[in-house]
Symmetry: C2
Subunit: 140 residues, 2 copies
DNA sequence: GTATATTATTTACCTAGGTAAATATAAGTT
DNA sequence: AACTTATATTTACCTAGGTAAATAATATAC
């Protein structure tokens, strides 16, 4: 059994990642959402109102990306931006519309998550997690 | 030890993937390339001249994405598009410039690949590969 | 209290991925 | 040969990620 090359490993990761987001977008399209939009909605539902900085730090994406995605969510009536005490910051809250639709979308996503890992046993899922933790940690 | 949730698993995959491409782009920027561009150059070097269909089928991306990336590579003098016998198709070849610079970039990428998996033993790399194979296979 | 530095957000401009529809050529049918 | 179908590529238009620089408000220094 030959060892897999680093390149093949990263290539496969790439393939799988793209398949995942493609499929996720497909399933979310019924709800008028995209994958990245859902991850923001989910975060706010989980942690309560967040500033944009809270969001990009948690999701590990850049501030301009959040600005843009929030604008789309705002246009779709999923979130509202309210001014914070610190007038530089904007606090993001879910709209009633978002709260009403949250659980339906969540069910869709739960099914999606399960479908994606269905061939992995619980032990394998834990193991995969631990291996991914060791991947690309930035240190040498 | 609690089991990891599907959501956390996919979330981590997301984080790692973004870190990977970000870092890869950073290292390639010295060479005036982006990650996706390199993957095309690498494919052609490996398999020889390919039609655009060959490329998108191999890389598992959509045809329009390839069209765009090739245009950028062409502008950067990395590739040339020549008409195939079948006049519908365009055969992509590396330029002399690409051939001359290939090995330097490849060294950069080999180092990158190794850096990304450096915390994983050979067995772990194989295992990670096998687990990723089982992920998101599309079947239920 | 004014000047400077820091922080939060935005704007402008890249690349990359996707879908849907258009175009051009080839292949198949009658 | 003419008509229809299929294939290869492109165009137009989305979203998402990134960097660099601008703007506005806060915090800090003097």
């Amino acid at each position: 059994m030959n060892n897999i090359t680093n390149r093949d490993l990263l290539h496969l990761l790439n393939q799988r990642f793209r398949y995942l987001t493609k499929e996720m977008n497909k399933r979310l399209s019924d709800h008028g959402l995209y994958a990245s939009q859902w991850s923001i909605i989910f975060s706010i539902q989980r942690f309560g109102p967040m500033t944009q900085t809270d969001i990009w730090k948690y999701l590990n994406i850049e501030a301009p990306t959040v600005t843009r995605t929030l604008s789309r969510l705002e246009k779709g009536s999923w979130i509202v931006r309210r001014q914070g005490e610190d007038k530089r910051e904007r606090v993001i809250e879910l709209t009633d519309y978002a709260k009403q639709n949250f659980s339906v979308v969540q069910e869709t996503m739960d099914t999606f998550d399960e479908d994606m890992v269905t061939h992995l046993s619980p032990e394998e899922r834990n193991h995969l997690y631990r291996l991914l933790e060791k991947l690309a940690t930035g240190e040498k």
